[in-house]
Subunit: 174 residues, 2 copies
DNA sequence: TTATTATATGATATTGTTTATAAATAGGAT
DNA sequence: ATCCTATTTATAAACAATATCATATAATAA
């Protein structure tokens, strides 16, 4: 498998503290405070960076370390982090909004591989759309700010157990 | 503007009847009937092919020609047409599922240009992802069945009135 | 310190979209 | 005509997400 599909994985210790501090700084810049609830939420997001958590997912995980937190606060915090472009909202068509950290330096979003069999979401960290974006900007006079590219198919883990892949496309929202 | 951004537009008369008949045939093949309600729904979809209607949109339009229809029936019909791959479900992150006809011969979905200023959805009829797909299949051992590619930015109609495009990305779901 | 103000939170109600249910209806087949 | 299945309608329910509002917390001023 190509190396750039590898996930960063949950980093404990120093790296984590560093990133929490950085986010605290970003909030501070916009006159927001890193309250205990917000910090707990941020830490859950950092600890599960390789997943694409829904608000409900985050809520349940935060409750483990801060049982008194309310669902509305989690929603509010996610919205705030999203407003500040610290995280991204994603929609994979399964009815819930999912969240992921925004890549530090990356101008654009990376790409996703969604398995129609097991539902796994893998990532292509690189941005392969450069040439296509230039073509879009020129041919359609469209100023691109961001993009989303998602491939739907069968992942390497499922390929042996799926006989007729075409059948899977069905009525999925995409 | 490139020619392939042009829409087919609502075709009245012969072409419309032909397509209704074709859909009737597709339903029939799977032992479904083209009931009056289903036909009214199909005709609304055909008449507004250039738009990306939500279920509610379709419901209101169908009601104009068949006031007795129920919302649930519209949902069921859209789901049925989607199951049979006659139409596609789309999600542009605005909270509602939208529907569009599936291109006749096209193996894959076309691409969308979404304006962050006015919300317009334009289309790139061509599929420009061939080379990238082959790379994905090879590098990630991922069998691609379909894809979605959406560009978010400023359309040619809005470019003069938007000064700071980056500000628009904010917390949009994508 | 205490009072004052602004900000953030938690519990809950509400909204909006979509799906599920149950009774009524329509069309064919026998 | 009767039966049978598919379909529809109206309504309730499920679900995610947002709004409301009283309370709590933190920052500021006196």
């Amino acid at each position: 498998m190509a190396s750039h599909i590898m996930k960063k994985g949950a980093q404990g210790g120093v790296a984590m503290e560093e990133r929490v501090k950085q986010i605290k700084q970003q909030l501070s810049t916009h006159n927001y405070k890193l309250t205990p609830q917000r910090e707990a939420t941020v830490r859950v997001l950092l600890e599960n960076e390789e997943d694409h958590l829904s608000a409900e997912d985050v809520y349940l995980l935060v409750k483990e370390k801060a049982p008194e937190i309310g669902l509305a606060t989690v929603y509010r915090t996610l919205e705030l982090l999203s407003d500040l472009s610290i995280i991204h909202k994603l929609n994979f068509g399964d009815g819930v909004t999912r969240y992921e950290f925004r890549a530090e330096g990356a101008e654009h979003h990376h790409h996703h591989l969604i398995c129609l069999n097991c539902g796994a979401v893998d990532e292509i960290i690189d941005d392969w759309l450069g040439p296509i974006e230039r073509r879009v900007e020129k041919e359609f006079d469209f100023r691109i700010i961001d993009h989303r590219l998602t491939f739907h198919g069968i992942c390497h883990r499922c390929k042996d157990q799926v006989k007729d892949p075409e059948k899977l496309i069905g009525s999925k929202v995409t």
